[in-house]
């Protein structure tokens, strides 16, 4: 019964998110803007630096930044907006498990972001035609695990954002670019002379490990065996972040109930 409720809740939340995106084709136009322009500009920058062989890094970065943007703006901040709209109180007073709502939201987010990410890839490849040497099974495994760990991070952040008000937007804006830079979304980050502490901090972001593994599998043809370490770390990160998000949500929900802040609305 409980498993059935969990699955039905996850499906319902996923359906709502997917329907809201596919039911409004303008969504693709909206979500494709940032990743497309950034990957185009950086591809042209690689080209103007006489390094056309790296334009694939910029296009791959554009694809993955679509998902990172979705995690930040539509996962991490979602409960904060739901709280403002009065929806969060419905969630916690209903028997629907919060974890199922989060997982459904993630799956819907992935499905909803996929069209714009695919378009960035298609347009980028059509315009710049970068050389690739893919090991597709490894690419698929790494891509899936990167998204799993990234969205698990979004779930963990969503509990933190519950305690924020309008400062959440500023925090999102402050996080978006630094995480993209530290993770090396558009370039191999290991080539930079980062201090050890920064390197360690960057390694704790799933996107860092995921981007490195994706570049290896997509451009250098490395297979599952060569990137087994990356796969292990990404799987571990996804599991740990998932558990962490559950604990944090429980804690903050409890705190919100006691302090009476869960039903605070802006309007």
């Amino acid at each position: 019964m409980r498993a059935s409720l969990w699955l039905r809740t996850a499906y319902a939340r996923m359906w709502v998110r997917t329907k809201s995106i596919y039911g409004e084709p303008l969504w693709v136009v909206v979500t494709i803007g940032f990743p497309l322009f950034t990957s185009m500009a950086l591809s042209l920058l690689y080209k103007s630096s006489n390094a056309s062989q790296f334009t694939g890094f910029a296009i791959l970065g554009g694809v993955m930044i679509s998902f990172w943007g979705n995690v930040l703006w539509s996962m991490a901040s979602q409960f904060m907006w739901d709280k403002q709209a009065g929806l969060f109180e419905v969630y916690i007073t209903s028997p629907a498990p919060i974890s199922a709502i989060l997982v459904g939201m993630s799956l819907g987010g992935v499905l909803g972001t996929a069209p714009s990410a695919a378009l960035v890839a298609l347009i980028g490849w059509a315009l710049f035609n970068p050389a690739i040497s893919p090991a597709w099974p490894a690419v698929l495994v790494v891509f899936t695990l990167t998204l799993a760990s990234l969205y698990a991070m979004g779930m963990a952040l969503s509990s933190l954002y519950l305690v924020y008000g309008r400062e959440a937007d500023s925090i999102n804006e402050a996080l978006h670019e630094p995480v993209s830079f530290l993770s090396g979304v558009y370039f191999p980050q290991q080539m930079l002379n980062f201090p050890a502490a920064v390197q360690i901090a960057a390694s704790l972001i799933p996107l860092t490990i995921g981007m490195d593994a994706l570049r290896r599998t997509l451009f250098s043809g490395e297979g599952l065996q060569q990137i087994s370490f990356h796969i292990g770390v990404l799987a571990l990160m996804a599991a740990v972040l998932l558990v962490l998000s559950q604990k944090m949500l429980k804690l903050l929900e409890e705190r919100g109930r006691r302090a009476g802040t869960i039903s605070v609305r802006i309007r």
């Binding site: 303008l26 969504w27 136009v29 909206v30 979500t31 803007g33 940032f34 497309l36 322009f37 950034t38 185009m40 500009a41 950086l42 042209l44 920058l45 690689y46 080209k47 103007s48 630096s49 006489n50 390094a51 062989q53 790296f54 910029a58 008000g165 309008r166 400062e167 500023s170 925090i171 804006e173 402050a174 978006h176 670019e177 630094p178 993209s180 830079f181 530290l182 979304v185 558009y186 370039f187 191999p188 080539m191 930079l192 002379n193 980062f194 309007r267």
Partner: protein, 272 residues
């Protein structure tokens, strides 16, 4: 002045100005560093790394972000204002919405000038460390003064762009929050921020070449980078003239849009 103050309060009322400015500077620093890293990686692989080009990218990346950060604020003021009913109050008083939008834009200009200056300095220092190179910047009172003049002159073009966007936003009920992304993206590609506009296909390159934002960034480069070719006053003059054209067009479009919006009663229309 009241609108500018309201804009400042909107940005920093929830925290202290130092924390607010720091949060607004971290993102642009990372964005400028991303562009400079891409150049460093590409040019190092091609054995064509040149510190002057790195300085070119640092200035361009910091300044296009500056323009993007405040040119969409009039549009934001309408979107937020519709939602919170502030714009409705502004709108019902006669001829007050253009000054209100201009004030919000100026407040954001002040914030963005500080944060983009901070991002240029921060990204330059980090680039020197990361790429182990010097940068041919000219940092004298005169060069910094010229940069400030260029920033002020560019207000005309940015505000004009802001009014043009507002002419659309006044009718929009959904997705208008996506506008800044497009403004920022278009400026990144078409203002010569990261690479010469000649790299773009014709006729796009011809249009990009005469945009006031392109001329503004060129003028700033002449002021800040040692040996950068061209005349500061020539580029600034072009930026000024282009800016005036943008402002006149923007105000005319906004006035027409506002007139139509009043007749159709769309300001209270909300998306649910």
């Amino acid at each position: 002045m009241a609108s500018a103050w309201a804009g400042w309060q909107r940005d920093f009322g929830w925290t202290n100005p130092i924390a607010g400015l720091s949060l607004k500077t971290i993102g642009p620093i990372a964005s400028v560093l991303t562009a400079s890293t891409v150049y460093w990686l590409g040019s190092s692989a091609a054995r064509s790394f040149d510190p002057t080009n790195l300085a070119y990218i640092l200035v361009g990346a910091a300044l296009y972000a500056h323009v993007a950060a405040y040119s969409w604020v009039p549009s934001l003021a309408i979107t937020e204002g519709k939602w919170s009913n502030v714009f409705t109050q502004v709108y019902i008083s006669p001829k007050s919405s253009p000054p209100y939008l201009a004030g919000r834009c100026l407040a954001s200009f002040a914030t963005s000038a500080i944060t983009s200056g901070g991002s240029l300095v921060g990204a330059s220092v980090i680039s020197i460390y990361l790429f182990n190179t010097g940068l041919p910047f000219v940092l004298t009172p005169v060069s910094i003064g010229l940069l400030v003049v260029a920033l002020v002159v560019n207000i005309f073009a940015s505000m004009g762009l802001g009014f043009l966007l507002s002419a659309y936003t006044i009718f929009a009920t959904k997705f208008e929050w996506a506008l800044p992304v497009y403004v920022s993206g278009l400026l990144m590609v078409f203002s010569g921020a990261l690479f010469p506009v000649t790299l773009l296909p014709w006729p796009v390159s011809a249009v990009a070449d005469v945009l006031p934002f392109t001329e503004f960034i060129r003028a700033a480069r002449v002021a800040l980078i040692a040996g950068y070719p061209g005349s500061f006053w020539y580029y600034l003059g072009l930026s000024f003239v282009g800016g005036l054209v943008f402002l006149v067009l923007g105000l005319a479009a906004y006035a027409a849009a506002e007139h139509r919006a009043r007749r159709l009663g769309v300001v209270d229309r909300k998306a649910v």
